[in-house]
Symmetry: C2
Subunit: 231 residues, 2 copies
């Protein structure tokens, strides 16, 4: 573990892909941190005080100072603990490409597809997910250049942004009745990548088991449907 | 002007706040570029080829390589022409704060408020804009620490992200019947900032006159309403 961490706390929740991002980044950098988990369905005073604009997890508290938004936190971690393995590439063009795909992934809501309210909405969500996976397969082939990760030999910015969604993607495949999102025929690169990513020492204790996510997703879907019914 | 620019082209359109961001950033760095303007209502082959994922302006072409998404382009410009004035702060925490507010501003759609389809929608849009301005006034006081800009003595990342919206904010004030968004009483800091920003040599030829934006906004609103009516 790195010495001279300072005081590092992360406000989050185990099931959130956005929270998994800074957790993986801190692991990559061997930074010890205290994980402060929010209760499902409520927001702590500390969270509200630390992220008054969005009131959302994750928030990194570094020596008491709050940093918000998952991708911004990952860049912060990369810059502060710069002696550890680099998360962003060093070349400006490669950095722009990494930021582009992280921003692309930020706009996708893998969790929303689980809550589709009709067969039609479900099919539309699945089509969009498959389209996204095909696009990412192409990006993987181009960016990884035959190496294991988008980041090359090691996990990088796109790996973290995308890999944080893997547990939810796998849960979705089951919840949507056996839909293939990670598909050996259509996305062989991503299948290989997903296996390598999930087994990485910085990742394996962060990504929850698929069954645990399915259980949690059912709670979440019930909550979303109850909220929709009462509005 | 900086020498050894390389070949720099920007695909954009004069009225887009997102396109104004890289234009201001290139001016800050004294980088000469060719401005390739898209025609209103159509997309060029070059744009479709350069940004196949989003098919949106702006796209920076640097020695033929495309960089997409306005904030990512501004970071790229800052990193490539690093000998010019810095756009992002050097301290990782200050960088995270700058990225946070730029991302906050990315989510706001000042142009959408002009197209509100009812009095109720208009009032809701105005309330949201005023709330955002109050939040940004607080951020300005805290971040600028009595200096002219969010970036201190010079224009920085938040200044560019927010300042690119100024022409549209001023147009909206007129189009929404004299609503005060930049308000001497409620947002005195931002009023002072807006005047300084608009007069900066890197900015003044990029921000269009309010009247020109109003004229363009009327065209845009008519197009949005026609599209809504035919769907």
């Amino acid at each position: 573990m790195a010495s001279n961490n300072g005081d590092v706390k992360l406000i989050g929740a185990w099931a959130s892909p956005y929270v998994m991002r800074p957790r993986i980044a801190l692991n990559v950098k061997s930074v010890e941190y205290e994980f402060l988990q929010e209760q499902f369905g409520s927001k702590s005073e500390l969270l509200l005080k630390s992220n008054p604009v969005h009131k959302k997890i994750p928030v990194l508290l570094h020596n008491g100072k709050p940093i918000c938004e998952s991708s911004i936190i990952v860049e912060y971690i990369d810059e502060v603990w710069s002696s550890g393995p680099s998360i962003l590439p060093s070349d400006p063009y490669d950095r722009a490409v990494a930021r582009f795909w992280a921003a692309y992934l930020d706009e996708k809501n893998v969790r929303g597809a689980a809550a589709a309210s009709s067969e039609e909405a479900k099919n539309a969500a699945v089509d969009q997910l498959k389209e996204g996976m095909a696009l990412l397969e192409g990006a993987y082939v181009e960016i990884s250049k035959g190496k294991d990760f988008f980041g090359g030999e090691k996990i990088g910015f796109i790996d973290i942004a995308f890999g944080s969604m893997l547990a939810w993607l796998r849960a979705l495949q089951v919840m949507l009745g056996g839909v293939k999102l990670l598909d050996e025929e259509k996305t062989p690169g991503l299948c290989k990548w997903a296996a390598k990513f999930s087994a990485d020492p910085a990742v394996k204790d962060v990504l929850p088991e698929t069954e645990k996510i399915i259980e949690f997703a059912k709670l979440l879907v019930a909550k979303i449907k109850a909220a929709a019914a009462s509005s």
